[in-house]
């Protein structure tokens, strides 16, 4: 039984408090430290209750950034990130960030102001049905109709956001509900207990592993959600099994581990994709056979039996039939998979040979900055504790291919939704979540313009974010696809009228510099990492550079295109 805190009266009864005060107390009870938001009319009572609370409000310059920063906080800490906006446009501006969290299963609580209850449904000023708008992109949602329900609903929302398969939960707060004063009511919170894995399924999985001659481990973002990295790494080590990771899985096994073959899929390594094609047993851990990972699904791992482990029962067998499907706590399941493949030595050796044979090449002609090499150098110099957030496009794939990650929480990328504009707000959320970490945002000239106003937030709070802006004056990934799959019909990809990004950053009060020559890379990396405050390094790169390798759309993963 829980009760919202409120100073008792002389008889020991809880004193009446406003709904807004109950909101703040509910957030404090959940241990919330930061609220990312932007005030406005309908949410003003909550903002009125913020001063003097334990909550630190981060005033962003666009509500989308509030949601994306909260998303990053959720990914790093595993606890729900909190964003706050007013009704109408404030609420709709959160939508992309909420969808981003939904697609990547990130814990988040999004709080929106709403017009007063008696005005709902009258097309009142700044009224939108944010509850209805977000139904497809939330794990759950509430419109609070009674002030007395605030403590219970907030407790439920946080529990839902973080439990099971995490996700965003929306709470819509009509203004009158936050203004009214009530005496808090006690409430009880029910929790869903995780289901224990069936012993027979574990035994079957162990049998398949023991008999496999060419097994491979395919892991995804579900490992980080379950915080099962240690169990996964232990399983991979004792079984000796080679592994491949999805974009969201990177770091769950260190990317420089000897048996890790790299990312699979559209921009994966050839060693990873070939191993999947040749394997006879595919152990899928916390991954969901996403189309960017599998390519043409009916050609994916065509000779393999599948063991599918996931925290979410609805993912098992959704796209690929599994011989053994086990839903539950991933660490618990992995710890029980103790079998070792007895006759897979030659397969393991073959995977190693392929890894060496098809290793990434960092030799590039010319004197211009070769982005993959610079990212590799920056990542290695930044060290194991660094966090890299990125935007969406070519640079996002280069980060995945060439940076080193030893934990999945160090790689913040918009994988499911592919949200251009994620990088800067994610950098804000990450640096607040781990203030001692070196946090680097890698962006592109298209993406950074989608949330460039957040340079003001970075400056305001003196966040020591290192921003690496790879500028090819194009929408590079679209250009690459138009070159390769649309007969070089380049349509609306030219961004050559970009502003001078270093000047823009300086105008926000952020140190910045530009490089365009390979000889400047060493100095740039050192300067980025040695600077105490926020800094932006603007890097001009070859507009014709492409991301390789590449699996063409609707193709098998082994039909990879390589740089000619």
């Amino acid at each position: 039984m829980a009760r919202a805190a409120a100073a008792p009266d002389a008889q020991g009864n809880p004193a009446p408090v406003s709904g807004a005060r109950l909101v703040v107390e509910a957030l404090e009870r959940e241990g919330v430290r930061y609220v990312f938001g932007y005030p406005g009319g309908a949410i003003m009572p909550v903002y009125d209750a913020l001063p003097g609370s334990k909550l630190k409000h981060i005033l962003v310059r666009h509500e989308q950034a509030a949601a994306l920063a909260a998303d990053a906080w959720g990914r790093v800490t595993g606890e729900p990130g909190v964003c706050l906006a007013t009704s109408g446009p404030g609420a709709t501006n959160l939508v992309t960030g909420i969808a981003n969290a939904y697609l990547d299963s990130v814990p988040m609580v999004a709080i929106t102001g709403q017009v007063a209850t008696h005005l709902i449904g009258t097309d009142a000023f700044q009224e939108v049905d944010i509850f209805g708008i977000t139904l497809p992109i939330v794990k759950h949602s509430y419109v609070i109709r009674r002030t007395e329900d605030i403590p219970r609903i907030f407790a439920e929302a946080f529990e839902l956001a973080r439990s099971g398969r995490p996700g965003p939960v929306l709470i819509d707060l009509p203004k009158d509900v936050t203004v009214k004063t009530v005496t808090p009511e006690p409430f009880e919170l029910s929790r869903r207990e995780p289901v224990a894995p069936e012993a027979s399924a574990i035994a079957h999985a162990n049998t398949l592993i023991a008999e496999a001659r060419a097994p491979i481990l395919y892991f995804g973002g579900g490992v980080a959600i379950a915080r099962a990295e240690a169990a996964l790494h232990a399983f991979a080590t004792r079984s000796g099994m080679p592994s491949v990771g999805t974009l969201k899985g990177l770091g769950a096994i260190p990317t420089d581990a000897p048996n890790f073959l790299g990312m699979l899929g559209m921009h994966g390594t050839r060693a990873a994709n070939v191993a999947i094609d040749d394997c006879d047993l595919l152990i899928c851990v916390g991954a969901r056979f996403d189309d960017r990972a599998t390519g043409k699904l009916d050609t994916f791992a065509p000779r393999a039996q599948v063991i599918h482990l996931d925290g979410d029962p609805a993912e098992i067998g959704k796209l690929r039939r599994a011989e053994v499907g086990i839903a539950g706590d991933l660490s618990d399941i992995l710890d029980q998979l103790t079998a070792v493949p007895a006759e897979a030595g030659e397969w393991f050796a073959e995977c190693q040979r392929n890894k060496l044979r098809w290793a990434m090449n960092y030799d590039a002609p010319g004197n211009g900055v070769f982005a993959p090499a610079m990212l590799k150098q920056l990542s290695e110099a930044a060290g194991d504790g660094a966090i890299i957030t990125c935007d969406v496009g070519q640079h996002q794939m280069w980060v995945a291919q060439h940076c080193r990650f030893i934990r999945p929480q160090a790689h913040l990328t918009s994988a499911g939704l592919g949200t251009m504009g994620y990088g800067l707000p994610a950098g804000i959320g990450a640096i607040l979540a781990e203030p001692d970490a070196t946090v680097i945002t890698v962006s592109g000239d298209g993406s950074i313009m989608m949330n460039i106003q957040e340079l003001a937030t970075i400056r305001r709070y003196r966040l020591p974010l290192k921003i690496l802006l790879l500028d090819n004056s194009q929408l590079g990934m679209v250009r690459q696809w138009q070159e390769l799959f649309f007969e070089e019909n380049f349509s609306e990809i030219d961004l050559s009228d970009n502003p001078d990004f270093a000047e823009v950053a300086r105008s926000f009060g952020i140190e910045a510099f530009t490089i365009d020559h390979r000889s400047e890379v060493n100095g740039a990396v050192k300067r980025l990492l040695a600077t105490d405050g926020p800094i932006l390094c603007h890097v001009r790169i070859d507009p014709r550079a492409n991301v390789w390798p590449l699996v063409p759309p609707n193709s098998s993963n082994v039909q990879m295109m390589e740089q000619s």
Binding site: L135, R165, A314
Partner: protein, 91 residues
């Protein structure tokens, strides 16, 4: 195509029907019939509701067993029974 009837027990709260029906349509099923009853005994609790949906898959890749699990993921849904056959419409 996979057609069938879903009988869904759920908790009565704001948006519950929209959430369920929306999920069914977004996951690739056409809604052919709908009926609702209230105050079910047993698993549904004192404020439980029951929604009966006749659905038809929009393409051959859509499976009712997967939809069943996706519905069970919704907070407030306590039980889903699936009958994978063409039924006389409930509407």
């Amino acid at each position: 195509m996979m057609n069938g009837r879903l009988v869904i027990a759920f908790r009565d709260e704001e948006g519950a029907v929209g959430r369920i029906v929306g999920l069914v349509e977004r996951r690739g099923f056409e809604l052919r019939g709908i009926a609702m009853s209230s105050d079910l005994p047993g698993d549904c609790g004192a404020t439980g509701h029951k929604l009966t949906l006749d659905v038809a898959a929009r393409d051959a890749s859509r499976r009712l067993d997967v939809l069943d699990l996706q519905l069970m993921r919704l907070d407030g849904v306590s039980q889903v029974s699936t009958i994978a056959a063409a039924m006389e419409s409930v509407s």
